[in-house]
């Protein structure tokens, strides 16, 4: 199937719905008391998983677009990326408000004492930079450095699952799976980047001849 620009709007609407639905489900479970007597940990975990899943989705876009020649899809990356930022913000806000109850001093000491929080906080810093520079105007202004900055999403793709893996008490299977997924997504990129280099070199040789 060929996708053209006129398909972009329905695709975007669908992605918005898919991304908002889990948040509605969270509201439903918490408000209807299905999330247990003290849903704080549940909310923090759930929003964190939301950010992680949205990050997987962002990183899936370009391999899918390349493999199936659906270039239009590349334009959904900002939308998805902003949902990563949105869920990560909810994740951090719920940790601050519901778990730490806005005790800033505690936050400072926790960041120092809990290495996985430091990892998560670094990841969030990257996300803030990417979100702030996601406007077209800023992007144009930044020129080439925009792409360099936005390549740091690959660093985030390592920090996020490490943060998850490090934070759990003993249930390491799920975080291990996520770590594996992100590593695969990075390897796919690394390979195709190499391939592009090779073909570039090859075509240059042809020109010389």
């Amino acid at each position: 199937m060929r996708l053209s620009l006129k398909h972009l709007l329905p695709i975007k609407v669908m992605l918005h719905l898919l991304a908002i639905l889990p948040f509605c489900y969270l509201l439903f479970t918490v408000l209807s008391e299905r999330a247990g007597g003290d849903p704080v940990q549940y909310i923090i975990h759930y929003t964190g998983m939301g950010a992680l899943n949205a990050l997987v989705a962002v990183l899936l876009v370009s391999p899918i677009a390349k493999r199936f020649k659906l270039g239009v899809l590349m334009q959904t990356r900002r939308l998805l990326g902003l949902y990563v930022f949105g869920y990560a913000s909810l994740h951090i806000f719920s940790f601050l408000s519901l778990d730490l109850l806005f005790e800033w001093q505690l936050l400072a000491s926790e960041i120092v004492k809990r290495p996985y929080i430091l990892v998560g906080a670094s990841g969030y810093l990257i996300l803030v930079l990417l979100a702030v520079t996601s406007f077209n105007r800023i992007r144009r202004k930044m020129g080439r450095s925009w792409q360099n900055l936005h390549n740091s999403i690959y660093l985030l793709a390592l920090l996020a699952p490490i943060h998850f893996y490090w934070s759990v008490k003993s249930e390491v299977i799920e975080p291990s799976i996520y770590l594996g997924i992100f590593i695969c997504l990075l390897i796919v990129r690394f390979k195709s980047a190499k391939l592009v280099k090779k073909t570039n070199v090859a075509s240059k040789k042809v020109k010389v001849v």
């Binding site: 704080v40 004492k113 390491v172």
Partner: protein
């Protein structure tokens, strides 16, 4: 938030007045049922049975399992173990549990333990005792006069509750079995029954613990007045998710020491292995005394989130006390010990 509707249980001058005002279990169950009826009954009316079951699974409910039955207990309130602190409402005590045998999330136990069978039950007290005991379900509530004690419960994850337990002193049980003079430690073991406990069947659900779950105390810790065998909470027998039919409660230690659904108590002459210590010895020691000075390697233990009444924004952060505030009763047990080494 709905939970703000739960009765006011502000600390009164007399600790035993408080729980009358807590939402009765019946009303709580009704509420869950009403939500089910409203939320899913309407959708589900025209959907075939197996699809409905799937729907309930989607919402973390167990399909077609009758709720676990609890019974009213006869007991006296032990005023020596009262607290002037706000009780954690029963609804929170029974829906926020760490019981990895039923899954690792806080709501897995209440969702997955409703079909748990405690009858028949066998609890053996054996090892270095003069009269090994084999107790059945009835014995657990009839062997000793039951008393109610209100204890703080401090989880190693830095949240805490205040719970009115019903049960008897562990020392009574050990004295009945007659501890031999060579004994130094007591080991405890949770039921191993993967058919009933999905966490024991699947590593993914059980969080990687080597089952059966085992715990242990030094003999002098076990004989301390505070060490309690709980058979109930809030005046009724224990719900399955809280460790029915019998569990240990050692309130000056982190919650994971208070082992649930016990089938074996073994008096020994050496320190027994314990489950969390086996899994991560650098994070969980044998003693696991509540200690704000000694941080868990991955988080601080200086403060705790007290889960009280009201909605999710009503919790408070309070300073954690050494031995969870029971220093007067137990600090002497650890005289001369370096508690940062024996954590």
């Amino acid at each position: 938030m709905k939970s703000t509707k739960f009765g006011k249980i502000k600390s009164a001058s007399s600790w035993n007045e408080k729980e009358n005002s807590v939402t009765p279990e019946g009303v709580f169950n009704d509420r869950r049922n009403i939500i089910k009826a409203l939320g899913l009954g309407a959708i589900g009316a025209s959907i075939p049975g197996h699809v409905q079951a799937g729907l309930f699974e989607l919402f973390g409910e167990n399909k077609a399992v009758d709720p676990f039955v609890t019974q009213v207990l006869d007991f006296t309130k032990n005023s020596a173990f009262g607290l002037k602190e706000t009780l954690t409402p029963m609804q929170k005590v029974i829906t926020h549990n760490n019981f990895y045998e039923f899954g690792t999330s806080k709501t897995d136990p209440v969702d997955n333990a409703q079909g748990f069978k405690v009858d028949p039950w066998v609890l053996k007290i054996e090892g270095l005792v003069d009269n090994p005991l084999t107790l059945d379900l009835d014995d657990l509530t009839k062997l000793f006069a039951l008393e109610e004690r209100i204890y703080r419960l401090r989880c190693v994850e830095a949240w805490s509750m205040v719970v009115p337990w019903v049960g008897f002193s562990l020392a009574l049980l050990l004295k009945k079995a007659g501890v031999k003079s060579s004994a130094t430690h007591v080991a405890f073991e949770t039921l191993f029954d993967p058919d009933q406990m999905p966490g024991q069947k699947s590593r993914l659900m059980g969080g990687g613990i080597h089952y059966p779950y085992i715990e242990g105390l030094r003999l002098d810790e076990a004989m301390n007045d505070l060490s309690f065998m709980a058979v109930g909470l809030y005046g009724k027998t224990l719900p399955a998710q809280n460790g029915a039919p019998i569990r240990l409660v050692v309130p000056w230690k982190y919650g994971f020491k208070s082992i649930k659904s016990i089938v074996r108590i073994r008096v020994m002459d050496k320190q027994p292995p314990t489950s969390w210590n086996q899994l991560a010895a650098n994070e969980y020691g044998f003693y696991a005394n509540v200690n704000p000075e000694v941080d868990h390697p991955r988080w601080s233990q200086a403060t705790e989130r007290r889960i009280g009444e009201g909605g999710i924004f009503s919790a408070t952060r309070i300073a954690t006390k050494p031995f969870n505030g029971y220093g007067e009763q137990v600090a002497h047990l650890y005289k001369g010990m370096d508690l940062s080494r024996f954590y």
